[in-house]
Amino acid sequence: MDEDPENYLILSNRSATYIKLEKYEEALIDAAKCTKLKPDWGKAWGRLAGALHGQGKYDDALVAYNKANELEPNEVYVKMIAEIKQKFNEMKSKLVNESLPAEMKDSQMGDLFASMFDTVVDNPKIMEKLTNPDFQSKVLSMQSNPIEALKDQEVMNIMMEMMKGLKTK
């Protein structure tokens, strides 16, 4: 179906149908083909965003919703963008309130982390990383052995990004 440029409407409709059936992988494949056939069509990006959203890939969904809204402003996209940003805020609260140990939350280090988390709400890549349990345990290990934790390139990169956010606040 992807060979015929006229089929973008069919691909878009089938993608929407897959989304209804919660078959997000199939929806994503159709939507991606649709964006290739009709890159200037907002709805194609909206379908892509819907599929990514369904898969829980919030950062990529946010990019696609923004692209859709840029091409064809629509209150549905605006609502979805707000919903994802709200989701990031909830993730942030959860991280600060539940993931950090009490002694860390009550300490100056906890305050520092809380303010760092404020800087990542608009940085979905970091947010996604911080909600990954494996990465969280690496961050938490900083308490007992900060030097060792910072030797990890992944931790170091995220810390640098967060520090950059602090500087520009």
């Binding site: 179906m1 006229e6 149908t17 897959y18």
Partner: protein
């Protein structure tokens, strides 16, 4: 009623499996024609 309209009606009626089948049939028919014309 053409196939496209039928598929869209299935979607509106929330008959999603039927809608998928019909959209896929349209795609296959269209590809055959496209390959023939090419």
């Amino acid at each position: 009623m053409d196939k496209k309209e039928q598929a869209n009606n299935y979607f509106k009626e929330e008959k999603y499996e039927e809608a998928i089948k019909t959209y896929s049939e349209i795609g296959r028919r269209s590809r055959k024609l496209f390959n023939f014309i090419k």
